[in-house]
Amino acid sequence: MSVTFYNTNVESRLLLGTARYPSPAVLLDSIRASQTDIVTVSLRRESNTEKSGEAFWELIKQAHVRVLPNTAGCRSVKEAVLTANMARELFDTPWIKLEITHNDNTLNPAVVELIEAARILTRDGFDVFPYTTDDLSVADQLLQAGCQVLMPWGAPIGSGRGLNNVFALKTLRTHFPDVPLIVDAGLGVPSHAAEVLELGYDAVLLNTAVATAADPVLMASAFSQAVNAGRLAFEAGPMHARDFATPSTPVVGMPLWSA
């Protein structure tokens, strides 16, 4: 059941965000309940009096998971590259979730800037996880830029809508059968995550669906089970849907009750 990102094997196909939890303790318990191996983190200005960043980092270290720093909030190539360099030093990892957004309402990826930043960061030795749309040509250009993982959105960040465009996601899977694909953002309930894995995607990345649930720890466990179920279903080979009924009970030997 393991999956590989940039030559690193992990057991869990669920990547979990660390924002918006009701408390640090709930965050830590949710990480554990999700059984994730990778959590996303960000960078923000540190107060020299509160030192909340330092406290957060100490908390995350208790979870004993890998971190995937993001460039959330960046609007330009320059901002994203600067943030990535600071993240690499702070977290001591070449991994970077490259996120450059274009619009505050949809937080949709700014794909032109994304491709350019991916090219620069790959050249500079980063392992780039690009948060992108489900557009095939953009995906292709990100791979040409050096990305070895793609993270298309399911729906806008924090929307909980599930998969807005299953056709496009299937197209990406078909065109790039050997590239690790992670649906990032927009998932609301565990069945959305199961659907992603049933499509043959390698993993999901989610945050709000767990963090804002009435019981985040329980929801983290639910997503963990859904991801496992979806992956097992994909490996089992789902039946093909049909437009008409097919009797499951054998018709041979049927008594002539109605004769």
Binding site: S42, L43, E46
Partner: protein, 65 residues
């Protein structure tokens, strides 16, 4: 010398970025730094001279999705 530290104007007598980090009692291993939108690695802070009107960013880990 007058500079901006995380968006706030301050007056300081320090000469280098490392001295600024120490003066403001940051934990130097849990912050990353940039000056005028350019990354300054921890290994270069001691030699990095600050000047009037510099904009210094001191960044730390935070929750994120």
């Amino acid at each position: 010398m007058n500079i901006q530290l995380n968006g706030k104007p301050i007056e300081t007598e320090v000469e280098t970025l490392e001295e600024l980090i120490s003066a403001y009692e940051y934990n130097k291993t849990t912050v990353a730094t940039a000056v005028n939108k350019h990354f300054v690695p921890v290994s270069q802070r001691a030699e990095f001279k600050l000047h009037d009107d510099d904009c210094v960013e001191v960044i730390a880990p935070m929750s994120g999705g």
